[in-house]
């Protein structure tokens, strides 16, 4: 009996002991400890690079800074010294985090927000769907529904605005030539890479200001969180010895002004009307039927209005609205043609007995609900490579802007094409086709993933020529993943890639003449 009790207690204690410390596990992200940005060159003449929207680098003026021997500036240096004296491990971690690059970190923050907000609203009791409202972003459904076109546009606006703001910043950096704090006062420890780049206005603050200001429009429910990130980034820049308070204030103010120019453009770029009206939705169907084609039908239950059907009318960055129409490819195979039967049968064969490798490809590129979308995936691919290239912040911004403008304009051309033809998904043509990823709620032709990927691979192949073949192979895999997944026909994918490449070519043309290369 005694033995029984002893064993009982031991057993209970054993399980209790094991259960109590809920072992904290942690997995690091690829870029959590990205190296401190160490630009190969300062790009000191980037003030001459061609902006996207600004009339020129001096459209917004930045007042001349106080002299480095002024009493005000000395006080600012003392602020840095005080911060450096009492630096905590946590502050050091923030310095290292932001030191990897503002364009990188803000892009990652954007991707995180897109993933958080990329959720289709749940239906109303009557089977209709609520539409997120920018006027009340906190009510369900949260604003925005950051679906692929929305996300593509958000990434593009932020990236383009960051680029323009940094072009302006670089102009004033060169003009005023105020050296970094640690160059003026040797007791200030440079915690980031030492550089000859002047510190006024601070590029970290320009990026924080421009991004925070853009977010008011794009993710209005996140303003408070973004403001916190802004303060964190700015404090890290000061504590690292890279910028003084006045460098920061001038930078943030410049960033916000540039952002307001982009915000004004965004308010009139027709994206606000992209949801369309029930009359618009019905017209797509009736005009397709009038052509003798089978019209796309939502396979969501209850039937969901198609995603952003008027997004094709949004004003692109790299070309004008007429060019959108010129880039629209010819029609898909007729829904009554043998070709369509053949292509449907091919998809049925893919999903009937998928190999594990095919499923891997589908899931690697799926980028569906709750993810940062295909544009975010291409941003992640680009960021991983840009980290290795030792770009300056302004060159990072320029390259991200080229990529994201390509992705947004790819979305515009793709969406224009989808709603011009309004053709059904494979699973609508053949109900036995089951999909290995979520079925997107919009017409099939052309494949969004293919268009995005064709555009992205084209501009990335220009930026990093030695990886051009790799990017093209990735784009092909992204494209074919949609066939393996059972949600696109071959013609959607092949025409999508080709159309995306044409969009990407506009970005390449811009890159050749923007003054950066």
């Amino acid at each position: 009996m005694k033995q029984v009790i002893k064993y009982s207690l031991l057993s209970v204690l054993a399980v209790g002991y094991i259960a109590s410390p809920s072992c904290k596990k942690n997995t690091n992200g690829r870029t959590d400890y990205a190296p401190i940005l160490a630009p190969a060159k300062t790009d000191i003449d980037a003030g001459n690079w061609k902006p996207v929207l600004l009339a020129g680098a001096t459209e917004f003026s930045v007042a001349a800074p106080a002299a480095v021997n002024s009493t005000g500036y000395v006080a600012e240096l003392n602020e840095i010294k005080a911060l450096q004296l009492n630096i905590t491990a946590e502050q050091q971690a923030k310095i290292n985090y932001w030191g990897a690059g503002g364009v990188l970190r803000w892009n990652e923050i954007m991707r995180e927000l897109v993933a958080k907000y990329n959720l289709p609203p749940y239906q109303n009791a009557d089977g209709t769907y609520p539409i997120p409202s920018a006027a009340n972003p906190f009510a369900y459904p949260l604003f925005p529904f950051a679906n692929p076109p929305y996300a593509a546009r958000a990434y593009a606006y932020v990236s383009a605005a960051q680029y323009d703001a940094l072009v302006a910043a670089w102009y004033y950096k060169k003009q005023y030539g105020r050296p970094a704090p640690y160059k003026t006062d040797a007791t200030i420890k440079p915690m980031l890479t030492q550089t000859d780049l002047p510190s006024y206005p601070s590029e970290a603050a320009v990026l924080a200001g421009v991004t925070a200001e853009m977010m008011k429009l794009l993710f209005p429910g996140e303003i408070a969180n973004i403001q916190q990130k802004l303060e964190e980034a700015e404090l890290a820049a000061i504590a690292s010895g890279s910028a003084t308070r006045s460098d920061i204030e001038a930078g943030e103010a410049l960033g916000r002004q540039v952002a307001q120019k982009f915000t004004a453009r965004a308010r009139t770029d027709k994206a606000g009307a992209a949801v369309g009206t029930p009359a618009d939705w019905a017209a797509f169907e009736s005009s397709t039927l009038a052509k003798g084609e089978i019209a796309w039908i939502s396979q969501d239950s209850p039937k969901r209005p198609p995603m952003l059907p008027l997004f094709g009318k949004v004003t692109p960055f790299l070309f004008d609205a007429n060019t959108t129409l010129a880039l629209r490819p010819g029609p898909p195979p007729s829904t009554s043609s043998d070709q369509m039967k053949k292509e449907t049968a091919e998809i049925n064969a893919f999903v009937s007995n998928p190999s594990r490798e095919m499923i891997r490809i589908v899931h690697f590129w799926a980028d569906g609900v709750g993810t940062y979308t295909p544009p975010g995936h291409w941003d992640a691919i680009a960021a991983d490579d840009f980290i290795t290239k030792n770009f300056s912040e302004v060159r990072w911004a320029r390259n991200m802007a080229l990529l994201n403008m390509s992705l947004m304009d790819a979305a515009i051309v793709c969406w224009d094409t989808k709603y011009a033809y309004f053709n059904p998904r494979p699973s609508q043509m053949d109900a036995s086709i089951k999909t290995l990823t979520g079925l997107p709620n919009f017409p099939s032709y052309i494949s969004g993933h293919s268009t995005f990927s064709g555009a992205a691979a084209t501009i990335l192949g220009y930026i990093i020529p030695e990886k051009a073949n790799t990017y093209n192979a990735m784009a092909s895999e992204a494209s074919v993943s949609r066939m393996y997944g059972g949600i696109h026909y071959r013609s959607d994918c092949e025409t999508g890639i080709a159309t995306g490449q044409k969009v990407g070519a506009f970005a390449v043309a811009r890159a050749r003449t923007d003054g950066a290369d």
Binding site: M1, Q3, V4, Y7, S8, S11, V12, A14, V15, I18, A19, S22, C23, K25, N26, T27, N28, G29, R30, T31, D32, E108, R111, E112, A115, K116, L119, P120, P121, Y122, Y140, P141, Q299, D300, S301, P302, V351, P354, R356, I359, R360, H363, F364, A366, D367, G368, V369, G370, T371, Y372, H377, A380, S427, I433, K434, T435, L436, G438, L439, G486
Partner: protein
């Protein structure tokens, strides 16, 4: 949408069924059963179990809902299981299920494949008279790991979660006459898993293909009738995931969700008179409450047979038992 069928199938069902099989050992050695179906040293009990579960309600976090784009999710499981008596006090068990899933509505593709091989060591260090009955204690350690490259990140239609798991269980049993009660507590260590995509969002972004899988614990109470001929019992099981996050509104589920479930079921096992060593099992359970999982109802049926690799010893022990009787 929602997995839980899997989490549960994956983690609970092999346990339940194997314990039914192990019941032989418990009753055989504890009772004075003239049939002598003893899970003694060198006996091997093995069998096949089919289980079917389905759900159409699931918990999105704590919100119970249906999903017209999933309909009813059905999981079929076909498992081979076995229990070998290393000694009267030490058994080794295994289970290997083949799992098949499908959704009745929407377009999502079902999946199928061999899931995880589970191995257990079961130890019965204490068995003693206590009051009017017999009290025994068990320690069970289990390890399971995927035996195929199946997909974890396609919930609710994945066939499993891919985590390698180490489970430690303490169990106490008390029997008076033919009535018994068993309680147990289990802690499950689960390894990280690797998924096919390079980034995912939980409550924050993770730029990696590695997913931290929270550990889990469970407790179980089972009670009923037990004799050498049959066992009929009711089973309550509570499973907790120790960490993880809730599915957000109208989102897809994810392997590291905080999946909890309370299930109530019955099990019956019957040893056939006609064929010594052959037994049939059947049972069912339903989910009373849950979180981030389907409210599944399951039924199972199986057949087990005891192979005796020690004829002489068996004869001897038979004789021994009858003497005691």
């Amino acid at each position: 949408m929602y997995e839980f069928v899997i989490g549960k199938r994956n983690l609970f069902v092999p346990f339940l069924i194997l314990l039914a099989c192990m019941g032989n050992a418990v009753t055989g050695s504890a009772q004075t059963d003239a049939d002598a179906i003893m899970m003694t040293k060198n006996n091997f009990c093995t069998g096949f179990v089919y289980s079917n579960s389905h759900w159409n309600n699931y918990w999105e976090g704590t919100l119970k809902r249906t999903n017209e784009n999933i309909g009813t999710v059905t999981t079929n499981m076909y498992a081979v299981m076995g229990n070998y008596g290393v000694s009267d006090k030490l058994n080794i068990l295994f289970g290997l299920p083949y799992v098949q899933t499908k959704a009745s509505a929407g377009t999502l593709h079902g999946l199928k494949g061999l899931q995880d091989l589970s191995l257990w060591i079961k130890w019965n260090p204490v068995e003693t008279d206590l009051g009017k009955g017999l009290f025994s204690l068990y320690g069970i350690a289990g390890y399971s790991f995927p035996v195929s490259n199946y997909v974890a990140d396609f919930l609710p239609l994945s066939i499993g979660l891919r985590s390698k798991s180490l489970s430690l269980r303490a169990m106490a049993d008390y029997q008076v006459g033919n009535l018994f009660a068993t309680v147990s507590g289990t802690y499950v260590f689960r390894s990280d898993i690797t998924i096919d995509r390079t980034a995912y969002y939980t409550t924050e972004m993770h730029n990696t293909n590695v997913v931290d899988m929270p550990n889990a614990s469970s407790y179980q109470v089972r009670a009923g009738y037990r004799s050498g001929r049959m066992i009929a019992e009711a089973i309550f099981n509570q499973w907790y995931t120790l960490g993880g996050f809730d599915i957000t509104r109208n989102n897809m589920p994810f392997p590291s969700n905080r999946m909890n479930a309370a299930t109530l079921g019955v099990n019956v096992k019957y040893n056939l008179k006609a064929v010594s060593g052959l037994s049939l099992i059947g049972g069912g359970n339903t989910t009373l409450s849950g979180r981030n999982m389907g409210q599944s109802t399951a039924v199972n049926a199986g057949i087990f047979y005891i192979l005796d690799f020690s004829k002489k010893q068996k004869q001897k022990e038979k004789a021994g038992s009858s003497k005691k009787e």
